[in-house]
Amino acid sequence: MKRLRFLTVTRRVFRDLRNDRRTLALIIIAPIFVMFVFGLAFSGEVKNIVFIVVNLDRGASVSPGGVPLSLSDKIVSNLDREVLKIEFGDDREAALAKIENGEAYAAIIFPEDFTSRVLADVQGKASGSATAVELLLDRSNINVANTITRTVNDALLATMDQAGVQPPLKVESTAVFGQGAKFMDFFVPGIMAFAVYMITTLLTLITFVGERTSGTLQRMLATPLTERDIVLGYATTFSIIGVGQALLLLVIGILVFHITVVGNVLLAFLVIALLAVVSQALGILLSSTARREAQAIQVLPFVVLPAFLLAGIFWPVEAIPMWLRPLSYIVPPTYTVDACRAVMLKGWGIGKIWIDILALLLMAAFFLSLAVWSLRVGKD
C-alpha cells in the first residue's frame, strides 16, 4: 500500500484534468492540430507548378514516307501532370519573360531539329555531342527546382525506354524498407514524439508552478507523501496521457493520412511513454526556476525549439551540421523519433532499438532524480 501511495497523486492529477475542459482540449486537440497543419501544408510533395512547354520540334520520319515521329510530344506526355501544371508557349523569349515575372517556375524548350538529331544520335550518325533540351529554371526555391528537374528527368528516361533506346548505364533501386512510403509515413512518428514532448513538458511545468505557488506542494509534503511519490505520481499520469495522445495520432494517421505501419505499435507506445516520463520530470525541474506561471512560459522556447529543429522530426539528424549534432543527442525526443520510425516504418524489434530505449531510460533516471532533488532543495 505504501509503495503505491504515489497513485493517489496520479488519480488527483487525472481528476484535475477531467474537471478542466480547456486543458483537456489542449491534450486532445493540440496534437491533432499540429498533425494536420504540418501534414497538409508541409507534406513535402510539391504540386501544381506552372511549367511552360515551348515545342519547336518538327519531328522526323523513322522510315521514308512514314508518319512523322515527334519525340518531344512523347516526352511532354510523360511529364507528371500532378506535379506540373503545363502551359504551352510559342517562343523562348515569352517563356523567359513569364519566369522573370514569377508567372511560371520553369520552361522547357525543344529545338526545331530535336527528334531528327536524337534519331541520328541513336543511329550513330551524329557529331558525337549529345542533343540538348533547354530547361529554364527559377532556382530561388530549391525544393520546387529539384522537383522540376526530377520530373523532367523521369519523363526523358520513360520516353527513351518506350522508344526502345536503352541507356548504357542504369541504377536499379530496391526499397529495403519503406516500400511506397509517403511523407506522412515518415512524419507521423516524428509528430507523435514532438506533440507528447511539448504538451507534457508544458502541462507539468504549469501545473507544478501552481503546486508550488498555491502551497499544495508543501501541504502534500507534510503528509506521508514523499518527494518521490509526487514525482512518480505525475510521471504515471503523464505517461498514460502520452500513450493516449500517441494512440489518437496513430488512428488519425491511419484513417485520414493512410499511413502504413509495419512494426509492433506497442513498442512505439513504450518509447512514447518513456518520453512522457522524461518530459514531465523536465517540467517539474523547470518549474523550480519560476515563481509565477508567467515566468514559466519564458523558458518554453528553450524547451520546444531545440526539440522541434534538432530531434530529426522534419529532416534527419544527419542533415544537421556536425558541430550542432551533439545537441540533437541531448534533446530527449531524438531517441523517440528514431525508435518510433524504426518500429513503424521498418518493423524493427526491441533488439534493434535497444540503444534508443537505453538512452531514454538513462534520461528518465537522470531527470527523475533531478526532479526529486529539486523538490528537496526547497527545505533549506
Binding site: 500500500m1 505504501k2 501511495r5 493517489t8 497523486v9 488519480r11 488527483r12 481528476r15 484535475d16 474537471n19 478542466d20 498555491s214 502551497g215 499544495t216 508543501q218 501541504r219 502534500m220 509534503l221 507534510a222 503528509t223 506521508p224 507523501l225 514523499t226 527545505k379 533549506d380
Partner: protein
C-alpha cells in the same frame, strides 16, 4: 532530552533556523503538552510560520533539536500523526470541495468509506454542506479557508499544526472554529496554533509570545495578564516586547 512523547507532543530545544545571515528562529525552546491548545502569538515575521514548518519537516533545522509526537526530527514517520494547515489556501482550485477533502484523506491511506463518513460532519462544521460539488476555485477566500481546515482534519491526527487558521474567517464562524477546537481537544488531541488575533488567544490553554524568532514570554492567558500587569493580551504583548528590548540593550 529523552523521549517524552507521553507528555509532550512537541518539544524543541535551542531550535534555530538561519537563512544566510538572517535568523528567523533563534534558540527556541517550546513545549506543547498532550491534549492542550497552545497558541503561538506574535507579529508577522516573528518566526511562527518558520517554526511550524520545521515541526512538519518542511524546513531543515539549522541548529538544535526537536521532537514531534515523540520522534526526533527530522523523521518522515511523524507525517501520519500530524494535520498541517498552511497559511496559504493550499487547495486545488480545479477540484471540487469533495475532491480536495478526498485527496487529502487518500494520501493518509484512508479507505473510501471512511473518508466519506468523515466528510459529512466536517462539511457541516465548516458550514459548506451545500457546496460539496463546487469547484474550490469558485469559492470566496473565507470559504476556501474553511475547506483548507477540513483537509487538515480529515484523517483525525493526534497533533494539529494550524498556521493562522482564522485569517479571513468572519467573527461568527471564528467562534464556531474555537468551539470545534475545544471539542477536538476534549477528544485528547493536541493543537498548536499560530495567530495574530490577540483576543482569540484567550481560548488557548497556554500561549507563547514570539518576537524576532524568540519566545519572550509563556504561560496561561490569565497568568500573562498578571505578569505584565495589563488588561488585555495586546497590551501584555507590548509590555513583554518592551522588556525584551530593554534586556537586549543591557
Amino acid at each position: 532530552m529523552e523521549d517524552n512523547g507521553n507528555v509532550y507532543m512537541v518539544q524543541t530545544r535551542g531550535l534555530v533556523k538561519r537563512y544566510g545571515k538572517f535568523t528567523a528562529v533563534d534558540h527556541l525552546d517550546l513545549q506543547v503538552r498532550k491534549g492542550e491548545i497552545y497558541g503561538l502569538l506574535g507579529p508577522n515575521g516573528a518566526g511562527k510560520t518558520t517554526t511550524i514548518k520545521m515541526l512538519c519537516g518542511l524546513l531543515k533545522m539549522t541548529e538544535g533539536e526537536a521532537y514531534v509526537t515523540g520522534r526526533r526530527m527530522p523523521d518522515k514517520r511523524i507525517a501520519s500523526g500530524i494535520g498541517y494547515m498552511p497559511q496559504e489556501t493550499a487547495l486545488y482550485p480545479g477540484l471540487t470541495v469533495h475532491q480536495n477533502i478526498k485527496f487529502f484523506g487518500e494520501v493518509f491511506g484512508l479507505p473510501k468509506q471512511e473518508i466519506e463518513g468523515r466528510e459529512k460532519p466536517l462539511l457541516d462544521f465548516i458550514n459548506l454542506a451545500g457546496w460539496r460539488d463546487e469547484l474550490v476555485g469558485n469559492l470566496s477566500g473565507g470559504m476556501k479557508h474553511r475547506v483548507s481546515l477540513a483537509c487538515a482534519l480529515v484523517h483525525m491526527p493526534p497533533l494539529l499544526l494550524l498556521d493562522e487558521p482564522t485569517v479571513g474567517v468572519d467573527p461568527e464562524l471564528r467562534v464556531s472554529f474555537w468551539d470545534y477546537f475545544d471539542e477536538i481537544k476534549s477528544r485528547g488531541r493536541t493543537i498548536l496554533i499560530t495567530t495574530h488575533y490577540m483576543d482569540e488567544a484567550n481560548h488557548c490553554d497556554r500561549i507563547g509570545f514570539m518576537r524576532d524568532g524568540r519566545l519572550i514570554a509563556e504561560g496561561r492567558p490569565g497568568e500573562m495578564l498578571e505578569k505584565a500587569g495589563a488588561d488585555n493580551l495586546e497590551d501584555a504583548f507590548m509590555k513583554f516586547s518592551e522588556r525584551a528590548e530593554r534586556g537586549e540593550k543591557r
